[in-house]
């Protein structure tokens, strides 16, 4: 890891990290920021909060920093709520995808031949399949929950996107493990009597943390995009819950009269995806000597 520190000077990487930090603050503290400014009239649910006093489509500025949407809801707090949804879905799905992907990828190398054959064929099959299509099918079988916490409401989306996102991780891990397996330090450890489990967990997987971290950033961007796509189509996150995708969908209906309403969710979504890609590219350049 000779160039380990180099990515810290990469302006694109820094831009990405900066934007993601802002996004995280918005997602976590969004509710308190808003109530400090607007003082919601006893609305316990931040996600559906709307100020009956505020009119629809208020101009940006004043109490409502980015204006209000077609129902008179504060756009900034809707964006914050959408950030919370996107980051929650992105992180949970990525954790599941990494877990399943690493297990399948390692088994693809170390399991008996017939098991690894089946696993890798299955992975290839899943990998080749358009993810939205499978997600659509899974969501079709799981009507969204109307009650419960945020996670419960997001469950169909999380399940659908988890099922579609592990194969790419499995493929990557399999390829990496297959080459690492024959490196001298692993053969050496094996010769001195280390078990396969010990080899994998202590020698091989630690080598992969960097590249997996980099790929995770890019995968999370993909997941956030997919979640927005599903919500845009009206089968993802259900109203009144806010998602950037559904915000884009409702704003486009007033495109002719209020084009500004569309700018914010599009901007924040694009910036998030681009930032995650910048950070992922920066990390990959630092950890993967082959990448340019």
């Amino acid at each position: 890891m000779k160039r380990g520190g180099e990515y810290k000077k990469d302006p694109l990487f820094l831009f990405g990290m900066g934007f993601l930090a802002i996004l995280l603050v918005l997602a976590i503290f969004g509710p308190s920021i808003r109530s400090a400014i607007v003082k919601p009239p006893n609305q316990p649910n931040f996600y559906s909060v709307y100020d009956p006093v505020a009119g629809p489509h208020l101009e940006p500025g004043g109490k409502y920093i980015l204006g209000t949407d077609e129902q008179g809801r504060d756009v900034l707090s809707r964006l914050a709520a959408g950030a919370r949804v996107s980051l929650t879905v992105g992180l949970i799905v990525e954790v599941i995808a990494l877990t399943v992907g690493v297990i399948v990828g390692v088994l693809g190398v170390f399991a008996p031949k017939w098991i690894s054959m089946i696993l890798m064929r299955f992975t290839d099959g899943m990998f080749a399949f358009p993810d939205i299509l499978l997600a659509v099918l899974i969501i079709g079988t799981m009507p969204p929950a109307k009650e419960g916490g945020l996670i419960m409401k997001l469950l169909p989306v999380i399940v659908a996107l988890s099922v579609t996102s592990w194969p790419s991780v499995a493929r990557l891990v399999k390829g990496q493990v297959a080459t690492l397996k024959d490196r001298e330090f692993v053969i050496g450890a094996k010769a001195s009597g280390a078990s396969t489990f010990y080899l994998v967990t202590r020698h091989i997987l630690p080598q992969l943390t960097g590249i997996l971290l980099a790929v995770s950033m890019i995968d999370i961007a993909g997941t956030i995009l997919a979640e927005s796509t599903l919500s845009f189509l009206g089968i993802g996150v259900q109203p009144p819950e806010a998602s950037w995708g559904s915000m884009i969908n409702s704003a486009r209906q007033d495109l002719g009269s209020h084009p500004v309403a569309l700018v914010w969710p599009c901007l924040i979504l694009s910036l998030t995806v681009i930032s995650l890609n910048f950070v992922g590219d920066g990390l990959r350049a630092a950890f993967d000597p082959k990448a340019k």
């Binding site: 080749a128 659509v136 099918l137 079988t141 927005s228 089968i235």
Partner: protein
Amino acid sequence: MRLVKAILLRLLFGVFSLLFISFVTFVAGEFSPGDPATILAGEKASLETVQQIRHNIGLDRPWPERYARYVGHAVQGDFGVSYYSTHEPVRDILKRTTPMTMKLASQAIVLAAAIGIFFGTIAAVYQRKIADKAILTITTLGVTTPNFVLAPLLVYIFCSRLDVLPLTWATTLVAPEFYYFILPVTILAARPAALITRLTRASMIDTLDQEFIRTATAKGVPRGRLLFRHALRNAILPVITTIGTSFGFLLTGSFVLERYFLMPGLGSTVIEAIQQIDMPVVQAGVLVTGAMFIFLNLIVDILLPILDPRIRESQI
């Protein structure tokens, strides 16, 4: 002989993929909310009627038998009837909606391939010059901008501001059909065009670096002929694979655009079906889209070794 064997193996894998996706859609149907017999019988039906229907459509049989029946019917193009009040046969719904989606996706892929191969070649020829950098920057935007962000942007420019293109599909079209396809096809093509540009560029740079190009240059082959007859013919092969996979993603990408432009295609029908928990339509839609996807990749995989002797040699 090896080529025949490879093609047969590939066909076998295609059949397995089809069985896999049919099984997945079947399982999805099993787990979907709502009992088909009750829905088909209608709200006021007696218990006996429901039982009778359940027996008639074979719901009282064990699942392997039902799966076999499901596949058997699907092969004949019978996907049952819609749960929606009209009880329209799903086959008719597919017949009505699939051509629109195919039209969108195939026009988009042709556009994307044309743009991608052209600009990819230019970027490779002017490598590291301004043209190359500009093209690369635009492709980065093209890859990261989702089509439902690009759509309102273009709609705002061309429909609201300039007012030169029709906004959404309507039952009675006021302009020739072609005009209604311009925006959705362009937006749909954006991402694959960016991907194909990048790939063509990388592949072209590799090819231009090889010795036979140097030989041809030394021999005095004119530049245009060198690029398009010698280099591009070699560089295009990996691009063809991408065109194949991109097409599948265009089919799902058209879900978004059909919905945006209110076009009555397969995508918008499936999405509506999900919202109405109309499982037979969802199953059939996914099955048909998946089958088209598998079929296309099959064609590409069979085409490649025929086009490229190097791949033919390396086939086991």
